[in-house]
Amino acid sequence: MKTALSILTAATLATVSAQGALAQETVKIGVLQSYSGMTSLGGQQTDFAIKTFMQKYGETPGGFKLQLIRRDTTGPNPEVAKRLVGEVVTREKVQLLIGPDFTPNTLAAAPILTEAKVPSFVTGAATTGIVGEKSPYSTRTFFATPQLCKPLAPYAVKQGWTKIFVVVADFAPGHECEKFFVEALKEANGTLVGNLRTPLSNPEYSGYIQRIRDAKPDGVFIFMPLGELSIGIVRAINDSGLKASGLKIMGTGDITDEGYIDAVGEAAVGVITSGIYSTQHDSALNKEFVKSYTAVAGEKNRIGWSAVSAWDAMRLTYDALDAQKGQKFDGEKFAAFLRGHKIESPRGPITIDKSNGDIIQNVYIRRAERVNGVLQNIEIETFKDVSFK
């Protein structure tokens, strides 16, 4: 009620001042993330990042007043996401969107956003080709699957780990990641000694782990969605004694994600992952980012990729709004401004591709270690300006 009242007051004030010389236009931003259920950490991190950013850089970029409208997508659920996008676009009249998260939700939202010409930021979906042609107003600040799934193959071969076993979760993103990794492994002259697709609801890995053991690989590459699966498999490989006997555990950053790594525990130490962001990234901006984020969210809520993606979405929003200073908000100009735009992110430099709004960024190979008793991902090698293709 309080917020409703303050919005009302703000609206009245806006009308009053519009009659004067200085009009302050309100830009409504829809924030569509998962706030409940198994994937709620993404929504939580997004909220913290936005709050931190607005505290730090003010609430009126380019003289526009920002108003956030949050909705819960509940996870990968395109039917819900599409309806929520429709609702915030047609009834709340949002002019910008952060989200929705997940590939199926992003795909479902695309036609509405295109029809209504509402620019959006893809902060939580990684499938290739979901920004670009079908959604001319979308900008990706997350990552694209190949960026994460390819670099580990040449890295592993270079270290002399040539016989690789691949384990992915048995769903579309898993299949895509498997494809990119196996391709890159072939290119790097590594050998695929076996592969497994494991079910999405799977409390028990021992049967699979015995298969890995039988194949005698040098290393195992893992792709699992964040949560019970990403935690479970690393712990299971560790508990079975395979890690102690010298098997290298590799995977996309999901398996040592900062939000979940404490639950993985000791099993995570030494795991090699490819990632776009680590809180340990060495740059002045990142140190600043970690400090102010932690001040808002508290030590307990660690910083994951959703946070940094939302942060960059805010950075880009502020840049684009500054460019429209003194004018009326224009969604098409907003999206066009971002094409080819380059910013310094806490993760390092990122560029929004000129032709389709996808992201070009550095990818880091990291090793999980304890730093002052806390599990962290230490960047040990950098692949510069990796393409989204």
Binding site: R197, T198, E204, Q210, D239, S240, D262, A263, N301
Partner: protein, 287 residues
């Protein structure tokens, strides 16, 4: 050969994991005929109590287990006195709706008190790692689980199912008025059985949370497994629950080893086949 035996052992261990998770529901549903899906929430509570006691208060793992049993048992009696006892005479679907509502509430409450992320378990060093037994390399925690589960099963079958107490509980369920007239304190017996069921669910949560991961969605993630084990085993029989858990556990692990492309199909197909073959469960008494 060694790998087959290891797989088999892991199957047995998974079976006992399923058993400790489901036995709480088996007691309340099987003996008291009350469909309490909130048992899964009691399991989650058990996991959180274990984490808090171990991580924040530094208590040893083995000391924590009885604490979990007693505390969760106490909580379940409170819930029983406040809410459940008004619903003993309602039909199954009403009980399902009531308890699923409680599960939803418990998820939000766990998020509020413990946060939405997964909990960290620092298990004592004697229980992690592997041991060599008969030339097989087995995981220590799984050995512990098999031992603990076996003791629990024996204690429950002989201490609860085949004793006077068991007979008294069944008498209260079958005909409360007559049981009361025979001098049984039905209220007390119901509350007591509920406490045991809740305590067991808590224990199951504490023992499994380390392997399965613990977050506020724990109840919804494992409810289906618990339901499958209890119904395949048959209502009102702890022995049945044990047999079902072991069968499904072994089948699942063997299936994943020999036919990994089938994924979860095997456990679901088995469930459907069992239930078509014996609609009241393997050892169920029938309606």
């Amino acid at each position: 050969m060694a790998s087959i035996l290891t797989v088999l052992f892991n199957g047995v261990a998974y079976g006992f994991l399923l058993f400790v998770m489901s036995v709480g529901l088996s007691v309340t549903l099987g003996m008291m005929n009350f469909v309490n899906l909130a048992q899964a929430s009691f399991s989650m509570l058990g996991g959180y109590i274990l984490v808090t006691a171990m991580q924040s208060h530094g208590l040893p793992f083995l000391v924590c287990l009885p604490i979990v049993f007693v505390l969760v048992g106490a909580v379940s009696v409170i819930v029983e006195r406040l809410i459940f006892r008004h619903f003993y005479k309602t039909d199954d679907l009403t009980q399902v709706l009531l308890t699923i509502g409680l599960v939803f509430m418990s998820i939000a409450m766990a998020t509020y008190f413990w946060g939405g992320s997964y909990q960290r378990f620092d298990m004592p060093s004697w229980i992690i790692g592997q041991k060599e037994i008969f030339g097989l390399t087995l995981e220590t925690y799984r050995i512990f689980l098999v031992g603990f589960g076996a003791v629990m099963a024996v204690a429950l079958i002989f201490g609860l199912e085949r004793t006077q107490l068991g007979a008294m509980v069944r008498a209260c369920v079958d005909n409360r008025r007559v049981a009361g007239a025979c001098g049984l304190n039905t209220e007390l017996i119901f509350a007591f059985t509920f406490a045991i069921g809740g305590g067991l669910a808590g224990l199951g949560g504490a023992l499994s949370a380390n392997l399965l991961g613990l977050d506020p969605n724990f109840p919804l993630r494992y409810l289906v497994y618990i339901l499958i084990v209890v119904s395949v085993g048959g209502m009102g029989t702890i022995t049945g629950t044990l047999i079902a858990a072991l069968t499904l556990g072994i089948a699942d692990v063997l299936g994943k080893y020999y036919f990994p492309q089938f994924g979860s199909f095997i456990i679901y197909l088995l469930t459907v086949a069992f239930m078509l073959w014996r609609p009241h469960g393997l050892l169920g008494r029938g309606a």
